[in-house]
């Protein structure tokens, strides 16, 4: 058989994709955004550019707003799987990497997060998060590390934060 000669302007073969260890960090962003598209809290695993983040936030909230009650609480967005739920005026939006994730478990994680905030702030509302942004971050930081859910036991989550409040007297 004649050996195959590549056609004119030989096309380079793309490199085979390699499994990247960042796959282990499934949660890529956690957002709290209100209906008007104002961001109340944002944490990202791997996105550092402010413009990119803002663009992502406005796009994702638009998509959430365009969906109705009967549809799934999940959708695909820019290669992420987005899980979202609305609580009063605030959307809680979590972006997850890859297809292996358990979307319903993430949806319930969102609920666990809200329940925890509710316990800490006693009947939490959007304003509480606005006036206590760093505390809201602290709660989230107790629950998620490296994009993994590591704590959902409310006692464990809030104990260090209560200690922090006591120790600092501010």
């Amino acid at each position: 058989r004649p050996r195959h000669r590549a056609p004119v302007n030989s096309i380079c073969l793309p490199e085979a994709g390699s499994a990247h260890p960042t796959r282990a960090m499934t949660i890529r962003f956690v957002l709290m955004v209100n209906k008007q598209g104002q961001t109340r809290l944002a944490q990202y695993m791997n996105m550092h550019n402010i413009e990119e983040r803002c663009a992502l936030e406005s796009e994702v909230i638009r998509k959430c707003l365009s969906r109705n009650e009967t549809q799934c609480s999940f959708f695909e967005f820019r290669g992420y799987k987005v899980v979202y739920r609305r609580y009063a005026s605030l959307f809680f939006i979590v972006g997850v990497e890859g297809d292996d994730e358990n979307e319903l478990a993430i949806l319930e994680f969102i609920h666990a997060l809200v329940e925890t905030l509710d316990r800490y702030f006693e009947n939490v509302c959007e304003l509480d998060i606005m006036f206590n942004l760093e505390k809201a971050h602290f709660v989230l930081d107790e629950m998620v590390m490296n994009g993994c859910i590591i704590e959902t036991n409310k006692n464990n989550i809030l104990a260090p934060i209560h200690l922090l409040d006591k120790a600092s007297g501010m």
């Binding site: 799934c72 319903l104 009947n123």
Partner: protein, 646 residues
């Protein structure tokens, strides 16, 4: 007001709202209030811009002069303005400095701002190292935790050596919250630089036995990562994982780990994923698992979301590991209930798990055909796409035409770039694997190039051209039929006013090589069409070279060189693209030497071996003549007398 509505609780329920900001300094309170009350994006921009200006001033004042509280607030305000889209990098160094405060809240706020505003490659990270090291060794466990969190967000390969030993020591810390975070800090180190944990496997395996369930739960994340890389090294842990899962489902953890009466569901789910990795294609390991998986399915079936989440994960594990018939039937029943649920979230999970079980045995999907067809046309885009996923996994030689039709229809409609890329990938895979005949393959690939030209991989076009050139390898007649089909389709496409670049390349190459097969057009027609195509707009400049190459090949087969071809080559001989210049110059030179042109561009010989004489023997006569005329002979670099060393 909308901001004060309680997130949880009855609609219309209010929270204490008004008290929320009482602890803040007056101007910080005002800032947040104004941001909350603004009615437009422009208004918000104005407020934030003023704030950025004020912050520059504020941050230049030391904590000693304005007090710790206001200094801390200034850092939070930096976080605020960046969250709202404005860069405030002048604040970053102050965040770094804040981490050095002894006041715990200030320190934490400093670390928080650093983790939100900086990133692992940021130049300020090196300034944090000493503080982090000090805090990692602190006797105050809250300081240790603050540092561990910062490590998990900001560590880079450079500073890793400075902190890794401290962190490993912390695996034995007396406080469970420290041990838990230390495990995750190591998780991060492995992600940043794989191999970081190679000496620590034994220690990490021991964390699985930590008496604190949360620490044990954290170890699962690290272990899972290591298991994915080297499953064989961890098969001996299967009984341990099974035992832990059993204990959890039997409610042996403190009730504070319950969520809506479900014991540690996220830890259960993580364990199920670990078991899936270890039991795949491994009968011995899988057999250890069947009993506990039955148990999990039974106990998780509580009718609430978190229960369904655990059931779903368990079903996935069942379908991933070495199969057990009864367990598979049980899983299939759960899937049925998901798929036939009215709740879209559950339906979605049903379709997803169906895609998993179908790879074990297609029969499970057949009984749900009606529902699947319904979901394919559902107005919920999410459900529709998941169903396409399922279809893809169910494709075989019998239904490939039907499935690809559906996928192509979606490619035609959707504008979502990621989705289009996935569709193109899948159509290509299915076409290459199951094409019923070559004609169908070409038509399908044409549709892919036409509809998905912007997302198709170059390799796909390459494979198609290779198929046309080499043929199927069995039947010369079938191969010619394939080429005829391609030529007919592509000359028709050339009549369209626009086709994507990748398709144009395929068209040109094919017509250049096999245009002579065309029943409709003779060579002069083709040259005309190709020359016209030279003037089109292309996204990729190199496409024009493909057209010129095709013109050259076709002209080589003609008795005389058409004027239009010469015009076009002359026109583009002055192109900015050197490559195009070359193609045009070659054509013009060959046009003057028809005999050479025919020899250099043989017909249907793209697969022939090229015989190249690297000694360029055909130039020997030329060289001898030049030497005879007095030219200097060639000297290799080492032989030259007055070598200029540059």
């Amino acid at each position: 007001r909308i901001h004060r509505r309680a997130l949880l609780g009855a609609p219309g329920g209010h929270c204490e709202g008004g008290m929320s900001g009482a602890h803040l300094s007056k101007d910080f309170f005002e800032l947040i209030k104004n941001i909350g009350e603004c009615k437009s994006k422009q208004e918000e921009e104005k407020i934030v811009r003023n704030e950025v200006a004020a912050l520059r001033q504020r941050l230049s004042e030391s904590p000693a002069s304005i007090g710790l509280k206001k200094s801390k607030e200034a850092i939070v305000r930096v976080v605020y303005v960046e969250m709202l889209g404005h860069v405030a990098d002048f604040g970053h160094i102050h965040a770094v400095n804040m981490t050095q405060q002894t006041n715990l809240l200030c320190k934490r706020v400093g670390y928080l701002a650093c983790s939100l505003c900086l990133h692992p490659e940021h130049e300020l990270i090196t300034l944090l190292v000493n503080t982090i090291r000090r805090d990692l060794k602190s006797t105050n466990h809250l300081e240790v935790c603050a540092a561990l969190i910062a490590v998990s967000k900001l560590v880079n390969p450079e500073i890793m050596p400075a902190v890794i030993e401290c962190i490993v020591d912390l695996l034995d810390h007396q406080h469970e919250v420290v041990r838990k975070k230390a495990v995750m800090a190591l998780h991060r180190l492995h992600i940043v630089q794989s191999g970081s944990l190679s000496a620590l496997t034994d220690k990490l395996r021991r964390v699985l036995c930590d008496k604190d369930p949360a620490v044990m739960g954290a170890s699962l994340h690290v272990l899972h990562m290591l298991i994915e890389e080297q499953p064989l090294a961890f098969k001996d842990l299967v009984p341990s994982f099974v035992s832990i899962l059993k204990q959890i489902t039997e409610h042996r953890l403190p009730s504070s780990f319950d969520y809506h009466r479900m014991p540690a569901p996220w830890i259960q789910i993580k364990l199920l994923k670990v078991l899936a990795s270890l039991g795949a294609a491994d009968q011995k390991s899988a057999e250890h698992m069947y009993e506990v998986l039955y148990d999990v399915l039974k106990r998780a079936d509580t009718g609430i979301n978190i229960g369904f989440a655990v059931v779903y994960e368990c079903v996935r594990t069942v379908t991933a590991i070495y199969p057990n018939v009864q367990l598979m039937e049980t899983a299939a029943n759960h899937i049925s209930r998901f798929v036939s649920s009215e709740n879209h979230n559950l339906k979605y999970l049903g379709i997803k798990s169906l895609a998993g079980i179908v790879q074990v045995n297609q029969k499970y999907a057949l009984e749900h055909q009606l529902v699947v067809v319904e979901c394919m046309e559902d107005s919920d885009e999410t459900l529709k796409r998941k169903t396409l996923d399922l279809l893809f996994k169910m494709t075989n030689a019998n239904n490939v035409v039907f499935v690809v039709d559906k996928l192509v229809a979606h490619l035609r409609q959707t504008s979502d770039v990621h989705f289009r890329g996935a569709l193109v990938d899948r159509i290509t895979q299915l076409a290459e694997r199951y094409a019923p005949d070559n004609a169908w393959f070409i038509t399908t690939m044409n549709a892919v190039f036409e509809l998905g030209g912007d997302v198709v991989q170059a390799e796909t076009a390459h494979n198609l051209l290779r198929l046309i050139a080499e043929g199927g390898g069995e039947d010369e007649e079938a191969d010619m039929e394939l080429r005829l089909h391609a030529v007919t389709a592509y000359s028709a496409l050339l009549n369209k006013s626009w086709i994507p670049d990748v398709l144009m390349k395929v068209v040109c190459w094919t017509l250049g090589e096999y245009g002579y097969l065309s029943p409709e057009y003779d060579l002069s027609d083709l040259v005309e069409m190709l020359c016209d195509a030279m003037d089109r707009q292309f996204e990729d400049g190199s496409t024009r070279c493909w057209v010129m190459a095709a013109v050259t090949k076709v002209v080589a087969q003609m008795a005389a060189v058409p004027d239009q071809a010469v015009e076009v080559a002359t026109k583009y001989a002055g192109s900015e693209s050197i490559t195009l210049q070359q193609y045009c110059a070659e054509f013009l030179a060959l046009a003057e030497a028809p005999a050479v042109m025919v020899e250099v561009l043989p017909v249907d010989a793209s697969c022939d071996d090229l015989e190249v004489d690297p000694a360029l023997g055909f130039l020997d006569g030329f060289v001898q003549e030049a030497l005879r005329q007095g030219a200097q002979p060639y000297l290799a670099p080492g032989e030259r007398p007055d070598e200029l060393l540059v």
